[in-house]
Amino acid sequence: MEYFVQQLINGLTLGAIYGLIAIGYTMVYGIIGMINFAHGEIYMIGAFISVITFTLLGLGGVTWAPLSILIVLIVAMAFTSVYGWTIERIAYRPLRGSFRLAPLISAIGMSIFLQNYVQLTQGAKIKTLAPVVQGTIPLLQSESGFTVAISYLQIIIILLTVALMAGFTYVIQMTPLGRAQRACAQDLKMAALVGVDVDRTISLTFVMGAGLAAVAGVMVTMYYGVVDFFIGFLAGIKAFTAAVLGGIGSLPGAMLGGLLIGLIEAFWSAYFSIEYKDVATFAILVIVLIFLPTGLLGRPEIEKV
């Protein structure tokens, strides 16, 4: 029982991170109907920028954890957003109206490019960061002596995710930008006709997605303390699975899917086999797409001539 609760906490933390990445996939898919294959790399770049910033702050003598986390979040989001914006501008915008697989192939090329760019500039070795936040709060204790604990870091990750989701829902539901995004998701051409600046909306969508991925990158850096140039691939696939599971195009769905994937991964590793945890994720992706192609919260899509 205690073990179960502990895995539940770990799974929720992991799921929050996947959920944040999944939002980037789901928003882009909702609006322009393409899989932004390079999104995992954006997250990886966010993680690298946060390691660099943490190290710089350490050298500069800023050691008070709340301040350094805040600075790192802002820096990582700002620079990663520029990456998101540029990728859209270079690799995707010229391809609108091209044949359907063109943006996906371009995105795969972009993903390979970014991976190797980071590998060449930062080296192929795993980078380890000293823990920024330490300490745990014990919650439960069993007779056998197993203690369920939630770390301060897990609390920070979950609270930050909740806050971002709230802010995000506000932007999508209440602001002119969110209205423009929802209009574009329904019908790009009609939105353009009624005066929505489609190019700007799509650019901002990429910027927002990149910002959230950067936050996920910061979280992962703090949580695991290790980063390498290849982390974006697997995290990207898992987050995409989360987006599909929740129903692609749906924001609450992306978060729900992320939490489910995080929980499944945690429980699978704990009770079955840790070697096959990625196989479990891929199998879920295949099964969901076959039996529930619209996901848990998605709308069915009808293809017409």
């Binding site: 393409m34 899989i35 690298f48 390691v51 660099i52 910033t53 190290t55 710089l56 050298l59 620079f79 520029v82 990456y83 914006w85 540029t86 270079i90 690799a91 391809l95 044949f99 359907r100 697989l101 063109a102 943006p103 996906l104 192939i105 371009s106 795969i108 090329g109 972009m110 390979i112 490019f113 970014l114 991976q115 190797n116 760019y117 060449l120 500039t121 930062q122 080296g123 070795k125 980078k127 380890t128 691939f233 696939i237 995409f240 699975t241 599909v244 070697e275 096959y276 990625d278 196989v279 891929f282 199998a283 992706l285 295949v286 797409l289 076959i290 192609p293 293809e303 017409k304 001539v305």
Partner: protein, 434 residues
């Protein structure tokens, strides 16, 4: 009057060009600053950061100048710009005859390559590597180029072929020629197994699912220690023999070696030559198959399906079965290439079957011009030879691959080298004869 207008217009244009270049330079600076400007360096007990601002300056200036020249060039040569980057008009017969000639010449060159004076062991080995990728490219082309299904997990079938040959040879003593068809059948079976449930999916979903499938196969190979040897792989895979006559200097009792059979002196190059001709033959079979199948109803259905699935349904083509056949046949050729790879290397491990490998094969198909047989040869040769001859370049290889995939999609989605041959050529009717 007219002469005074043009100089007056120039400065404003230059100002616009500089503004645009400055914007690009500013973005480049923001991109380069965090990742180029600081390098993470390992030190005992942790990491530190080393500044590298000269790189940031170089990158910014390079982007500024590049963007400025591009804007200038577009402005000064608008007509030629349009011609270079617009899809060329497809003329019915002209260029394809040239392609045919080049194709035959290349095939003839490949046939005689081992007899040329330049052919040493190193050259032949590289040629074998190129041919493996050519074959994989042609095999994947059936799926991506002809049927229009983006398969990101093609390497899984390559792996299935390699492992089926290795396991059959080690546990059941199969020879290469006995195992080859079985490896193809196994790979095709995996293709059907994967394809049957997922081929109803839309194009980009299909791509992700095939990617997941490829990773599942790799992870299973990596973790199923008792069956596949896990991360250590399988070693001591039997080397190929000339239809039962081994390439050894001193064959075991009762076995005739290749050089004894033909009454020539033993030469260790015989085996390399033989491998070369085997892969050349396999590749040419793949090529012949894809050329011929396009004239058959099946191939026509693939291409029709690629263009418009709904119209195909209306015409009574069963999309699932048609796609499934493309998937299975593409997988089968991947399996053939895989068993050749296993016998050539003598050692296989999951390392050889990562997603990057799939991406390289896909890059070959995309850069070659999806559906063009000749383009794939050129792209494969380019992608394998360039890092081989420029070792310093090797670490930038994947970087350039990635960038090239993006640029090709933007500028020449029909491929760098050649374009797809049309399915039907309508010859002009000779009215005098009629």
């Amino acid at each position: 009057m007219a002469t005074t207008v043009i100089p007056a217009a120039r400065p404003t244009f230059l100002a616009a060009a500089i503004r645009e270049a400055a914007l690009a330079g500013a973005v480049a600076f923001l991109l380069a600053f965090p990742l180029l400007g600081f390098a993470l360096v390992d030190i005992p007990g942790g990491i530190t950061v080393a500044p590298r601002f000269d790189w940031v300056v170089i990158a910014t200036v390079a982007v500024f100048v590049g963007r400025f020249l591009l804007v200038l060039w577009r402005h000064l040569r608008p007509e030629s710009f349009g011609q270079v980057f617009r899809v060329p008009k497809i003329t019915a017969i002209g260029p394809f005859a040239v392609n045919d000639v080049i194709g035959w010449l290349l095939a003839a060159f490949a046939m005689v390559l081992p007899f040329l004076p330049i052919a040493d062991r190193y050259i032949i080995d590289i040629a074998i590597s190129v041919l493996i990728y050519v074959m994989l490219g042609w095999g994947l082309n059936i799926v991506v180029g002809l049927a229009g299904l983006l398969d990101l997990g093609y390497v899984a079938f390559y792996a299935v072929g390699a492992y089926s040959f290795a396991l059959l040879a080690i546990h059941f003593d199969f020879s290469f020629w006995q195992a080859l068809p079985l490896a193809g059948v196994f790979a095709a079976a995996f293709g059907v197994l994967l394809g049957f449930p997922v081929l109803r999916l839309r194009g980009d979903y299909l791509a992700i699912v095939t990617l997941g499938f490829g990773e599942i196969i790799r992870l299973v190979l990596l973790n199923w220690n008792s069956f596949t040897g896990g991360p250590n792989g399988i070693s001591q895979i039997p080397r190929p023999s000339f239809f039962g006559f081994p390439f050894t200097r001193t064959p075991p009792e009762g076995v005739t070696a290749f050089h004894q059979l033909f009454g020539v002196d033993f030469n260790f190059m015989h085996r390399t030559y033989f491998l070369y001709y085997v892969i050349l033959g396999l590749a040419l079979i793949t090529n012949l198959f894809s050329m011929r199948v396009r004239r058959l109803p099946l191939g026509r259905a693939w291409e029709a399906l690629r263009e418009d699935e709904i119209a195909c349904r209306a015409l009574g083509i069963n999309p699932t079965n048609t796609k499934l056949s493309a998937f299975a046949i593409g997988a089968m050729f991947g399996g053939f290439a895989g068993s050749f790879f296993a016998t050539r290397q003598g050692f296989i491990s999951p390392e050889s079957f990562t997603f990057i490998e799939s991406a390289i094969i896909l890059a070959i198909v995309v850069l070659g011009g999806m559906g063009s047989q000749l383009g794939i040869v050129v792209a494969a040769a380019f992608l394998i030879l360039v890092p081989e001859f420029g070792r310093d370049f090797a670490q930038f290889r994947m970087l350039v691959f990635g960038a090239a995939m993006v640029l090709v999609m933007i500028w020449r989605p029909q491929g760098l080298v050649a374009h797809r041959e049309p399915s039907i050529r309508l010859k002009p009717v000779d009215r005098r004869a009629a």
